[in-house]
C-alpha cells in the first residue's frame, strides 16, 4: 500500500489538474463541513492539519485523494482516536469525494511571511538578543 501511495504521488506530480466547476466546489464545501473535515483541517483549510494552498500531499491528485479517504478503516478500531477517519464509498460516494476534492483544491490561505508579522519579528529579535548574551 505504501508503494502504491508513493506511485500515485509520482503520477500526481507529473499530471495537470482539471478545472472544477462552481457547483461541485459549492457542493464540496457543504460536504466538507457535513463530514467533519473541518475538525482537523479548519473551516477554510487552515486548521491544525492544513490543506489550503495545496500544502498537503494527499490533495495533489484526485485519485490519490480518493484512495487516501478509503484507507485506515482497520487501525485501532477500539481506541478513541483523533486521527484521520476512514471514509468508505458507502458513507462518501466517489462523486461526493470528488466534490470535496474540488473544494479543497481551490482553498487558499496566503498568510503573511513571518517577517511581516510584528509579534513574530519581536520574538525573533528577543531570541537573537538572548543568543548574543545568553547569561
Amino acid at each position: 500500500m505504501k508503494q502504491s501511495i508513493i506511485a500515485a504521488l509520482a503520477i500526481a506530480s507529473s499530471s495537470g489538474f482539471a478545472q472544477a466547476d462552481t457547483s461541485s466546489i459549492s457542493d464540496g464545501e457543504a460536504l466538507y463541513l457535513a463530514h467533519g473535515c473541518y475538525s482537523c483541517h479548519g473551516y477554510n483549510g487552515t486548521g491544525r492539519t492544513p490543506l489550503a494552498d495545496g500544502v498537503s500531499g494527499i490533495t495533489s491528485d484526485e485519485e490519490l485523494f480518493l484512495r487516501y479517504l478509503r484507507l485506515r478503516a482497520d487501525q485501532n478500531p477500539d481506541a478513541p482516536s483523533n486521527s484521520m477517519p476512514s471514509y468508505s464509498e458507502y458513507v462518501l460516494p466517489d462523486d461526493d469525494a470528488r466534490a470535496i476534492y474540488a473544494y479543497v483544491r481551490q482553498l487558499t490561505d496566503e498568510p503573511p511571511a513571518v517577517e511581516d508579522i510584528d509579534v513574530f519579528v519581536e520574538l525573533i529579535n528577543e531570541a537573537e538578543k538572548n543568543s548574543s548574551d545568553p547569561e
Binding site: 460536504l31 457535513a34 463530514h35 467533519g36 473541518y38 475538525s39 482537523c40 479548519g42 473551516y43 477554510n44 487552515t46 486548521g47 491544525r48 492544513p50 489550503a52 500544502v55 485506515r72 478503516a73 482497520d74 485501532n76 478500531p77 481506541a79 478513541p80 482516536s81 483523533n82 486521527s83 477517519p85 476512514s86 471514509y87 468508505s88 458507502y90 458513507v91 462518501l92 490561505d109 496566503e110 498568510p111 503573511p112 511571511a113 513571518v114 508579522i117 510584528d118 509579534v119 513574530f120 519581536e122 520574538l123 525573533i124 531570541a127 537573537e128 538572548n130 543568543s131 545568553p134 547569561e135
Partner: protein, 655 residues
C-alpha cells in the same frame, strides 16, 4: 392573580414615595414577593397584548458602603460581644489564620453557619486571613482552591455542606487529588436540626478513596488539632486534598478558656546525607550532567534547583510548560545543551536516566484510603505506544535509582554536599561547560522558534480565528506583566509553549488533574485570588464547553474583583468528541455526516459575552475577524490590570 395585583400596587406606592428606609425581615420578604409578582404580571400583560405596567419596583442597588462591607473592605459595626462568649468556631478561624490560609471558598449552608459567621465577624480585621469567597457551586469552590494552590504552592480552604455539598464537589476533589494539589476541605455536619438526608455517619467516606486524609473530630479541642493536621497532611508529599468533618454543634460550642494548640510544622521526607554525597559525586564526575526538573512544591524549591544547575553548569529539562513550580523555561541553562549524550541525569520530582528524587507516589496511599478497592486511577498501567503524550509532557524513562524523598526538602542537602566537594579544577571545567550549554540552548531556541513561526503563520488572516494567532497576539500585551496562564491548553493546541516565556513559578498551572471538564473557569478564579493582591494578572484561554458547567464562577470573579482575562476558545462544540466520533463512524462504515449530533453547540449559538455580562463581568465579542483581536486584548488587559475581570468571546478554528 388578584393577590399578586394587590402586592404589585403596594410596591408601586413605595416607588412613588421614593423614600429610602430600613425594612424588617418580614416586610423585606413581602417587598421581594411584590417584585416577583410585578415581573410576572408584566410578562403576562405583554403576552396578552395589553398595556404593561408603567413601572416595576426593583430592589435598591447596594450602596458603596454595603459593597465594601460585603467584600470585606470595612468591618461591621462595633458591637459589645456577649460576656464570656467565645464560640468554638472563633478558635477554628484563629487556626486557619495562624496557618496563613488566605481564603475559604463556600456556597453558604446551615451545617457550617457557625464557622461562616466566625469568618466574617471574628478577628481584627474580620473576614481577612481567611476571607470568605462566595462560590455559586461547590465544584467551583474546590476548583478555585485547586487553581490557587497550584499558583501559590500552599492550600486555601473550602467549606462544603454535608452529604449534598460533598457530592457536588466530588469531581473537583478527584481532580485535585490526581494532580496532587493541597486543599483543606471543611465539611459541615448537622444531624440534630436539619434534614436527615443531608447527614451521614461517615460523610468523608464518599471521597475517602480520592483524598489524602480525613477526620471527624468529636471534641472542639480535637477539631482544632485536626484542622492543623489537615493542613500538614495536605502540604506533605504525596500532596492532596484533606477533609475535616466538623459538626455544627462543635462550631457553636462555648470554647471557654480553651486555647488554640501550638502549631508544629510537618517533617518532609528527605534523602540521607550519604545519598546526597553519592549524587554529588556523580554530578561532579560527569562530563555532561543534566537535570530534569519536574513539579516542585514552592518557589523556594525552584530557587534551589536554579542554584544547583548553575553550580554544575548543567543543561536542564524544564517542565514549566506542563505545569506550575518547575524550572524557568528561558533560563540560559534550560534546553538540550551542547550535546544530548548525557552521562549523568538527575530527576527532581520526575524520572531520569540515572537517579530520581521523588516524593512518595499517590499509589502509596491506596491500601489505607481505598479498602473497598474502587481503584480510582490505578486500574491499569498506561499502555505504551497507544496515544503517546506530547513531547513536552512525556515523562523521561525510568531511573536506575529512585530515591523516595521530597526533592525540594532534599535540595539543601545536595547543594551542601556539592559545595563541600567542588574544587577549583571543577569550577574551571563547569564554567567552560556552562558557556557552551548556554550558547547551544540559545541556538536551539532560535531554530525551534523559526520552525514554529513558519507553521503558525498559516491561517493568520483567516476567519474564524486561528488558535496560533489567538495566543500570539496576546503575548505583547502580557509579556511585560506579571502573568499567570491558569487554564489547561491541551484543547487549544498549546501554542503558548513556544510563543510565551514561562519563567515564573505560576506561569502555567497545567492540566485539569483528571481530564474532567468544567475546571477552567473555577481554577482561573482561584488563580485570580492568588493574583489579586500580588500585582499579577491571570489569563484564562477558556474552552466553550468547559465554561457551561460552572459559569457562576464568573460572578465570583466580578464580585471579588479578580484580575482574570478570559479569552474564549469558542469552537462551538465539544471538539475532541467530534473527532473521536468521526473516527468511530469511519471504523463502523456509516453516517460520518451525522457526527454533529450531541457534540456541537449550535442552533442556537451561545453568546458568551452576554453570559459574562449577566454575571457582571465586562465583555466583548463574538470576534470572528482576527484583525479585531489586538484592540480587544488591549482593552481586556487594561481592565484586569485595574482589577476588573474581562471576557473576550473569540470564534476560533476547532483546534
Amino acid at each position: 392573580m388578584r393577590r399578586q395585583t394587590a402586592l404589585f400596587h403596594m410596591s408601586q406606592r413605595k416607588d412613588e414615595d421614593g423614600r429610602a428606609h430600613r425594612v424588617s425581615r418580614r416586610s423585606f420578604i413581602g417587598q421581594t414577593a411584590g417584585v416577583g409578582a410585578a415581573s410576572l404580571i408584566g410578562a403576562r400583560a405583554d403576552a396578552a397584548g395589553q398595556d404593561a405596567p408603567q413601572s416595576q419596583e426593583k430592589l435598591p442597588a447596594a450602596s458603596p458602603a454595603a459593597l465594601d462591607r460585603d467584600t470585606g473592605v470595612t468591618a461591621p459595626p462595633a458591637a459589645v460581644p456577649r460576656t464570656g462568649h467565645v464560640p468554638g468556631s472563633d478558635l477554628m478561624v484563629q487556626v486557619l489564620r495562624d496557618l496563613g490560609i488566605e481564603y475559604v471558598a463556600a456556597n453558604p449552608a446551615s451545617s457550617f453557619e457557625g464557622l461562616h459567621e466566625s469568618i466574617v465577624n471574628h478577628g481584627d480585621p474580620p473576614n481577612r486571613m481567611p476571607e470568605l469567597i462566595t462560590a455559586l457551586h461547590e465544584e467551583s469552590a474546590v476548583d478555585m482552591a485547586h487553581g490557587y494552590a497550584k499558583a501559590e504552592g500552599v492550600p486555601m480552604a473550602v467549606m462544603l455542606h454535608a452529604t449534598v455539598g460533598v457530592q457536588h464537589a466530588a469531581m473537583a476533589i478527584y481532580q485535585a487529588y490526581q494532580s496532587q494539589t493541597p486543599i483543606v476541605i471543611i465539611v459541615g455536619r448537622d444531624d440534630q436540626f436539619f434534614r436527615q438526608e443531608q447527614t451521614a455517619n461517615d460523610i468523608a467516606g464518599m471521597v475517602r478513596a480520592f483524598t489524602k486524609w480525613d477526620a471527624q473530630p468529636t471534641t472542639l479541642e480535637g477539631a482544632l488539632a485536626d484542622l492543623q493536621r489537615a493542613y500538614n497532611e495536605a502540604i506533605t508529599p504525596p500532596r492532596g486534598p484533606t477533609v475535616v468533618v466538623i459538626d455544627n454543634s462543635l462550631q457553636k460550642e462555648e470554647a471557654g478558656d480553651l486555647q488554640v494548640p501550638a502549631y508544629v510544622p510537618p517533617d518532609y521526607p528527605t534523602m540521607s546525607r550519604q545519598q546526597a554525597q553519592d549524587i554529588a559525586s556523580g554530578l561532579l564526575a560527569a562530563d555532561n550532567p543534566r537535570l530534569n526538573v519536574g513539579r516542585l512544591r514552592t518557589p523556594a524549591g525552584i530557587a534551589h534547583a536554579v542554584t544547583l544547575a548553575e553550580m554544575l553548569g548543567a543543561s536542564v529539562q524544564s517542565f514549566a510548560t506542563s505545569g506550575a513550580m518547575s524550572f524557568p523555561q528561558r533560563h540560559w541553562l534550560a534546553g538540550p545543551g551542547a550535546s544530548t549524550e548525557y552521562d549523568y541525569v538527575l530527576g527532581l520530582e520526575i524520572g531520569a536516566q540515572d537517579v530520581s528524587i521523588q516524593g512518595p507516589p499517590l499509589s502509596s496511599m491506596r491500601e489505607d484510603r481505598d479498602p473497598g478497592g474502587i481503584g480510582f486511577g490505578f486500574v491499569r498501567e498506561p499502555v505504551p505506544g497507544i496515544r503517546p503524550l506530547p513531547p513536552s509532557v512525556r515523562p523521561p524513562s525510568p531511573a536506575k535509582e529512585v530515591v523516595i524523598a521530597d526533592a525540594e526538602a532534599s535540595l539543601p542537602l545536595l547543594l551542601d554536599a556539592i559545595a563541600r566537594r567542588i574544587d577549583e579544577r571543577d569550577r574551571a571545567r563547569i564554567a567552560q561547560r556552562a558557556t557552551a550549554t548556554a550558547k547551544a540552548n540559545a541556538a536551539h531556541r532560535q531554530k525551534q522558534l523559526r520552525q514554529a513561526l513558519e507553521v503558525r503563520r498559516r491561517g493568520w488572516n483567516g476567519s474564524p480565528v486561528s488558535l496560533a494567532r489567538l495566543y500570539a497576539e496576546l503575548w505583547p500585551h502580557i509579556r511585560d506583566e506579571n502573568w499567570c496562564l491558569s487554564s489547561p491548553s491541551v484543547f487549544s493546541s498549546q501554542h503558548h509553549i513556544v510563543l510565551w516565556d514561562h519563567d515564573r513559578p505560576y506561569s502555567y498551572l497545567g492540566s485539569h488533574g483528571g481530564g474532567g471538564i468544567g475546571y477552567c473557569i473555577g481554577a482561573s478564579a482561584g488563580a485570580g485570588l492568588a493574583a489579586r493582591e500580588r500585582n499579577r494578572i491571570v489569563v484564562n484561554i477558556q474552552c466553550d464547553g468547559d465554561l457551561n458547567y460552572t459559569p457562576g464562577a464568573l460572578w465570583t470573579m466580578a464580585h471579588h474583583k479578580l484580575p482574570v482575562l478570559s479569552v474564549m476558545h469558542n469552537n462551538r462544540g465539544y471538539h475532541q468528541e467530534v473527532m473521536y466520533l468521526h473516527y468511530m463512524a469511519g471504523v463502523r462504515n456509516r453516517g460520518t455526516d451525522r457526527m454533529h449530533i450531541g457534540t456541537t453547540l449550535r442552533e442556537p449559538h451561545i453568546d458568551y459575552a452576554k453570559l459574562a455580562e449577566a454575571y457582571g463581568v465586562e465583555s466583548e465579542g463574538p470576534i470572528e475577524d482576527p484583525a479585531e483581536l489586538e484592540a480587544a486584548y488591549r482593552r481586556g488587559v487594561a481592565a484586569v490590570k485595574a482589577g476588573r475581570p474581562y471576557l473576550i468571546d473569540v470564534i476560533t478554528q476547532p483546534r
